[in-house]
Symmetry: C2
Subunit: 328 residues, 2 copies
């Protein structure tokens, strides 16, 4: 079997880091004694809630939009998203002074709809169970001559998300904690693919795990079967940020080649992880952003030499849901 | 008038930083674009929720307990506290393998009582409105030959809390943000006094403000009158961490000499600040830990050249209260 050729390599992530440097937040890599004691190992937390718009998505969006030429910038961008990508694209477009239109599910968390509008984007809603967001977005983009910005299947998006991995390796080195493994939430697979690309190039021995909610375990099943599996049409989860219907056509070959394995957590494990982040870490983490922590707290991460890194990918959660979860 | 002689100077804070270095967390100094835009200035957030036990109190407690000799360590320590100092002392005692007894109000937040016990300390409760915690603690300490660990009126406690200020100056320099002012919550005044001691020695032009809840504005009134004013016996506030009845005898002379002024916020402004920290910063901040942010968001901080630093001093808040606050 010939080695697959990927859409990006580590140099693209390093380029992305240069492009986003003055726009994105270099988020902190945190450590907590209670978490270490509970897990019986050294755990480092990459806190992407501190990123602009409260999730890692700004990184890829800014890296993509910053590459558009003058004519493309005037025509603007169109994206579809359950919320975090929407906010990332809206914020990047705002910083780069271009118009943005976002196609969002009508039942997306209210905070994500409101925040996207507050960032200056036009929001077009659709019914997640009966309409195709791809069709709506594609039609809009064609009508306006605008550029479609996919949420994961795009080389610049993947490379931008990969800057999370670059920062992890740099920050872990500064504190003298060699990285043994990294646990990363996985929807379409852009964040895992970007992180894997740069981390494996720098430290081939680091183990990388995707983490998904039970009902959206398409990447775990695809890694096992070798083909891109689909999510069941009636799948439900509290992890609204991880609802991609299947692994991406660009991201999956990368993840298939570079990931060590795919872990799966229940919604209850996610709730427990969010409560732990509230009570012990004092960090607000949204359901989709808590799956990697849930895997770590549930003992699903294999033993390893070196520190275990958990990516807390975002913190955009409706107050009512959050209130319910932290009160058990 | 002769210059008052203080119980500590900047070298004591530098000593404390050396003593706590391998035990305490160097907490992050964060920045948020939405906050900067809202305040029309550069705001840096010192996030002490990431400290052991979820507040800055571990710093002073560890610095105090680490100075005890072998015989004193065997006899152990006694402290009184509404909660955060209790947890800080309990965690420091646990790390240094000495027994700790904590006198806590029976109506302290359940999470603080539970956490203190979980850290291995013996908890003795009292009625905050009818009993004297000082008497109970002093009697206990005498009976056991144990060392009393005050929550603010102690040179090692003040110096330990001052390490927050040392880290702020170092971290702000690394990111190229000269500090113009620092806003710090104030109960008994140990944190403000420690920060002021080291910051004013390094950068005399930095303006320092204590921030208090309306009903517990004793430091603001004392700074204005020049004498240590008392809190009204029937005072109430959601800021359970800031309920000291008057400025400390050791801390007030320092604060009087070094603070620029005292700011005061309402409980509603504190609630709004906690909600903002949840929705925009993705940080869990307790009421007493949010007063400085409340002052900043309410426009109470005077204009200044350089960055405004806001200390978020802790994140230990009961889930039920937090749920109520973030849902407005």
């Amino acid at each position: 079997m010939s080695r697959p050729s990927f859409v990006i390599d580590a140099s693209d992530v390093i380029d992305a880091a240069r492009v986003i440097r003055n726009a994105a937040v270099r988020t902190p890599l945190l450590e907590n004694a209670a978490l270490n004691a509970l897990c019986g190992r050294r755990v480092l937390l990459k806190f992407e809630g501190a990123q602009h718009t409260g999730s890692f998505k700004f990184r890829g969006a800014y890296n993509r939009l910053a590459r558009l030429n003058a004519a493309e910038r005037v025509a603007g961008v169109v994206a579809w998203s359950s919320g975090n990508h929407a906010q990332g694209v809206a914020a990047a477009a705002s910083l780069l002074a271009m118009p943005a239109t976002i196609v969002m599910p009508a039942d997306a968390p209210a905070i994500k709809l409101a925040n996207t509008r507050a960032l200056g984007a036009e929001v077009v809603t659709y019914d997640r169970h009966s309409e195709s967001r791809e069709e709506i977005a594609t039609t809009l983009a064609q009508a306006r001559g605008a550029t479609l910005v996919p949420s994961f299947d795009d080389p610049f998006i993947i490379a931008g998300q990969g800057t999370v991995g670059l920062e992890i390796m740099e920050q872990a080195e500064v504190i003298g904690a060699p990285v043994g493994q990294i646990l990363v939430c996985c929807g379409g697979g852009g964040l895992t693919a970007g992180i894997a690309t740069v981390v494996k190039a720098r430290a081939p021995d680091v183990a990388l795990y995707s983490v998904e909610p039970e009902a959206f375990d398409d990447t775990a099943r695809s890694l096992a079967s070798g083909v891109r599996e689909q999510v069941a049409p009636d799948a439900r989860s509290i992890c609204d940020a991880l609802m991609a219907p299947s692994p991406g056509s660009m991201t999956f070959p990368i993840n298939q080649a570079l990931l060590t394995g795919g872990l799966v957590v229940s919604d209850d494990q996610v709730r427990d992880a969010m409560s732990f982040a509230f009570s012990a870490l004092k960090l607000v983490v949204e359901p989709g952003g808590a799956v990697a922590l849930a895997a770590m707290l549930s003992g699903l991460a294999p033993a390893c030499e070196g520190a275990s890194v958990v990516v807390l990918s975002g913190g955009n959660v409706d107050p009512a849901l959050y209130a319910q979860i932290i009160q058990g």
